[in-house]
Amino acid sequence: MKRKTLFTIDTIYRQPLAVEGLYFSEGPDAAPAVAVVGALRGDEVQQMYICSLLVGTLARLEQEGRLAPGRKILVVPCLNTFSMNIGERFWAVDNTDVNRMFPGYDKGETTQRIAAALFAHLRGFEYGVHLTSFYQRGNFIPHVRLWETGYEQAQLADGFGLPYVVHSTPAPIDTTTLGYNLQVFGTQAFSLYSRNTSSVHEKSAHRALRAILAFLAERGVLLPGSADIPEAPPDPAYPDSAAPVHLHEDALVTVLSERGGLYFPAREPGDRVNTGDELAVIRDPFTGEEKERVHAPASGHIFFAHEGNLIAGHDVCFRMIPDAATDPSLR
């Protein structure tokens, strides 16, 4: 393992922002095989933690000679230490989102320069894995997401062994994300969503580690038999899937609140529900009186769940994968 400072940004009154990368199987003849990127935002603690687990595991596997020679791996656990250290999600100065700045511009504004500097180190890798989070606050069933750019090889996502692969048609705002731009510039890029964002969830973190190792093994970056390791054992709560379900984001069913108030969910990501099942109760915040019961509009699985004890009216309580959502043609 080689720990390198990829680039720095100077500031006044704080130490320079130093973005670190951890390289494995590096050498003069090594081909850039897989880049794994963690927290681009300051609240992506789970994503950084997953990277730390991966770094520890890869360091051990490298020492044991179980990494394929000549297949370089880069892990960037955290781009945005500046924001993470002060509890901000976006860039600490102007609240811009680095993950809306790619491919970046080295003569532009600060976050454009940061994006450009990171992107320069990621370009040329054959595969990219971005551990990322959603724009709505909530928890997910662990899954892989990929942008429909016309360059994606969707069947490669099966290599993570996660139960769902969600295909998304990029909106204009999405064309500035890391995943989209890696894809467009020739890297097969996948976004990996863990359950949580701002706090560590051990089980789903280890599930994500297991998924990345499975992908590395299938892509020949780990030597055979190296993916099954004690740090990431099989977990009945998050079973491996040899044939993940591919679905389009548009097939997800959104369950909205009608009223605002104290929010009591009865279900969580991964739960199986049937049409009409009670999913949550919204209560008056002062009297406790019930204002609304939220029911499942379809049978399927809970994919995303609102996080927090308060909810506004017309907000997303859940997103569900209805039973009819599977689309074999997407694979």
């Binding site: 100077d10 003569k107 504004e109 705002i173 108030g261 104290l262 915040p285 506004a312 009216g313």
Partner: protein, 308 residues
Amino acid sequence: MIETVFSVELAVGETLLLQKNRISGGSASRRVCVVTGTHGDELEGQYVAYRLAAELRARPELLDGIVDIYPAINPLGINSIHRSSPLSDLDMNRLFPGNRDGNTTEAFIDAVVRDIAGADVCIDIHASNIFLTELPQVRINENAAAELVPRARRLNMPIIWVHSNATVLESTLAYSLNALSTPTLVVEMGVGMRVTPAFGEHLVLGILHLMDHMGMWGEKIHITPATVVGQDRRVAFLNAESSGIFIAETRVGQDVKAGDRIGYIADPVRGELIETVAAPVDGLLFTIREYPVVYEGSLMARILESRG
């Protein structure tokens, strides 16, 4: 008349409202929409909303048509000094056209678009951000320039900046409304968290002038011709190459010569001047940094290059 366009219950004892002030007169059905407050830290449009409504109320006999004023597209942000929507921490001007079936913010935005769509013209007023002061200007996507520049010339703004299309800007209010055949002009002026009445007065006159041209306002108003910035006029961007404290030595609206000092970047810890910021071209300084803390890359000024 104050109308509620959209309302939704917040979690605890409050309702989020999208309000507009509809002022109508005469018999014409032509409609002008004036929109502001999409970014909660931009307040220049508050003055325009107030002054325009006051003008229209003071002389109702001159009005023939409908003026809808939306003073706060991001009411929670304006009330809490948040640029983005506090409900989602997302820039509302990157979420258009919204989504009726989406979350609270997306549904709110959908209601904005539905209510304005079909107007004869919409003016979307912004105030830069807390970092930069802008000379009043109309910004127009090059794809819509042919239709919008003639209208923009009537707004009494010194600069009309026709910029290239960026995909990300397709998520703005202006792009969404223009795509729905509702001509929408974006005004940028002043600086965030402040009100500059002189700029506001220019725009109020300009809106009345535009309305006069549309047959909606019975008074002749004289305005200052604008400079159109397009492919024939280059804009020079001055970005910081050092981090420190930027001290501006010029104001927007000044003509500068190549080599003129715009300002400098200081290091207060060491007591050193670390970067002198000079104009790279002759021209009109129309953007200057207001917030002194700069990082490498921070924009400090923009200059509209003189015709060569």
